[in-house]
């Protein structure tokens, strides 16, 4: 898939390649660093390929998000712990996630996008996907969380009893 102002070719972990504009890649700390490290002329078209440890399907989702957010201010604003909230996901982002975050998918894609955002150092996308995941478990019981996140309880009976005692305050 070709995007306006073709400038950077990204090669994915499964051998595909995608060419995208610098306007999009500027939001990725990883890609920007790779380009800087190449020390190539900024106006060279296209730039040498940058290998990313993300599969093609996930990278396409990342690029779709980057295209929508291409005009977002940089650097991404650092938020204090007090300002961190999960209920402020923009409507477009919510719809974007809902498209592929199906029951059948069992959050595989969400985890893959979170991992990709982390590897490519795209703070806005990482923040949004982590908030989405946090919202899924918000207000749920321990058992419900385990089911949603498909987690195995690996505590011993003794540890479990101790944790239940410690956490009695939040289960009342």
């Amino acid at each position: 898939r070709i995007y306006p102002l073709m400038r950077v070719t990204l090669t994915t972990s499964d051998g595909a390649s995608v060419t995208v504009s610098r306007q999009l890649t500027k939001h990725s700390g990883f890609i920007e660093k790779a380009i800087t490290d190449m020390a190539v002329d900024d106006n060279a078209v296209p730039l040498s390929a940058v290998a990313v440890d993300v599969d093609d399907a996930t990278l396409k989702l990342v690029i779709e998000w980057l295209t929508e957010h291409r005009d977002d201010a940089l650097p991404y604003p650092e938020k204090t712990d007090e300002e961190r909230r999960a209920d402020d996901i923009p409507a477009w982002d919510q719809a974007f996630v809902q498209k592929w975050d199906t029951k059948e998918d069992q959050q595989q894609t969400l985890y893959a996008v979170i991992t990709a955002a982390d590897k490519l150092d795209i703070k806005g996308l990482l923040d949004m996907t982590c908030k989405t995941l946090a919202n899924k478990i918000n207000g749920k019981t321990v058992e419900e969380m385990r089911e949603i996140l498909q987690l195995e309880c690996d505590f011993t009976e003794e540890e479990l009893a101790e944790i239940r005692k410690e956490n009695a305050w939040c289960e009342n």
Partner: protein, 324 residues
Amino acid sequence: MGEPSELDQKFDSLRFNQVPLTTFDTLPDDILVGIFGFLNLRDQTRLAACCSRFHSINQSKVAKKLDAVVAFWGERHQYVNTYESYMALKKARCWNRQPTDDYELTIDESFFAHGQTNTLEIKVKPNHDRPYLLLSHLFKTLQYASLDIYFADSERNNALLFRSLISGRKLKDCSLTIKFGRAMFEDIGSTRELLLELPTMKCLQLNWVYWGINSDSLETEVITDGILLYLVDHSTEELIVGEGDCSLQGLLHVHHKLIVSECKHVEVTVRREVAQEFVQKIMRHSYETVQVHQGKLSQHEGNGIAMSRLIITKRQYDINYEFL
């Protein structure tokens, strides 16, 4: 047939386009810490109870975010509670530790490590050293936006706890309310020393109740000219103290300091004649930047000396005087 070689496995992976599945528990610690960060304390605690890895991450890497931490240590009862919703205490679900007996409060000392709370309220009225040691350690790295501490009795360990709550901290945006109840003569010097250790803070409200033998002077008050001047210099918004042994000269220095420092509002109760003289002197010079009001008249509890409240405010700083 033997096990497939590594090369075969790679080939199969490519041939069938098998991308290793990412699951929640395979996400790196840093991402999990970020997700914990979007949850409230209750949900953080529940997520930590899902499996041992999350339990360990929550204990070692996730800073607790609390609305309020309230610690009370009396002669018979002790507790340390956290409230998710401080404004609705009755509805709040509390993290609560009760003592196993009158002197034992078992607590996970790392619980508050590097945590944050809007309000930290402490009231201590003990008859032994343990609360001071435990609370000092417990709250050593807990950041607060507002500290409300009440030392209900004269006790040499008050200084230990107080120092652990102020030393090495950045309090520029913090409000402090410090109350000393039943203070004795030997507490005066040490409390003055403590006040002179306070770093720059936003607001300070100080309440000193002297319970020892009174003299016919105000020497049993901890606020003196020097202390008041220091506190004005270290408060960026408001300084509200009780009775002080202040002179006219000292108040004039405070007035001057108020003009040049960040502090915007000072209240102190001083001898009535000193307050009157100060107000007259300021009125005569009609300073434009600072407004001075003589407030409530009173008598010193210990010796009946006539006192008067002084309210000194920068003009651009709006205060509703009806409530003063």
